[in-house]
Symmetry: C2
């Protein structure tokens, strides 16, 4: 019976209660943990659960936060730019902006110079809301970033960026 | 008007068509790109879209692949172990296993030694299917892993693991 695959974290009491057919190898995990996809997904799940807990009382999805940040930084940003910058499809952006507009956080307005173009603007409520969300996000991020040195963090961000840029 | 934030990838034709109110800063992106959550999510989206395209003709979710791998490595694995190893909740595992069992890839069987315990076993079809999925996953992984040196890859995996372990 192969034992070396077991992690130290696994309590002995559970081992002893096991039938032989599943008391054996933990062989699948090393294989999964050698996959980039597995590691990124697991990290994503942990981050996303914590975001849900720490940010906007669980009512704000990360992508909504991103849209608000971009609308603040670029008042009048076009939906097509959100699509590109956030790697979303057009239908998702339209649905998301509908919802955020419905909550009174942004408004769509036509450009005064180009009537064909419609841009996104934060409302005063949206600006106020974003301020408090930024505090939540900073706290959430800190709790993960503090696991790394500044150098490690820069390396991690750089290596991740190579996956999506 | 601030220009230095723009990426080279942005076509000049689009710039020139912009109204002043959104031709300005790209200030939101540096802020977002300084967040671990943003980088991990973007990487996850890219990996997951490619997985969808390359693995099992888009009909197999990554988590299903993980369950099959674990059921092969540990015949008779308990659902509670899947929950723990894959950081899923119990209801999700039950629903997933129901579906995979319905597709004839696994079966739940009681342990011969402990009748209270029920374990998961690959069927011959499941084993055959998994073999072909593993080839797909290897190809999918290779296309991302080849962006890194062996050392970089080990560093990236290690740093990611620190987020979820």
């Amino acid at each position: 019976m192969k034992r070396q695959g077991r992690t130290a974290a696994e309590p002995a009491t559970r081992r002893s209660g096991r039938a032989p057919e599943d008391a054996g190898t933990a062989g699948g995990m090393p294989m999964l943990q050698s996959l980039l996809g597995f590691n990124v997904r697991r990290a994503q799940v942990v981050l996303s659960r914590d975001f849900q807990k720490q940010v906007g009382q669980g009512k704000v999805r990360p992508v909504v936060f991103c849209i608000l940040v971009l609308a603040e930084a670029q008042p009048g940003i076009a939906q097509v730019d959100l699509t590109r910058k956030l790697a979303l499809d057009k239908a998702s952006v339209v649905a998301l902006v509908d919802r955020i507009e419905g909550a009174g956080l942004v408004e769509r307005r036509r450009s005064t110079l180009d009537r064909r173009r419609q841009g996104l603007f934060l409302t005063p409520l949206g600006l106020q809301r974003l301020k408090s969300l930024k505090d939540d996000v900073a706290r959430h991020e800190r709790s993960f970033q503090e696991r790394y040195s500044a150098e490690e963090l820069a390396i991690l961000m750089g290596l991740l960026r190579r996956l999506y840029e």
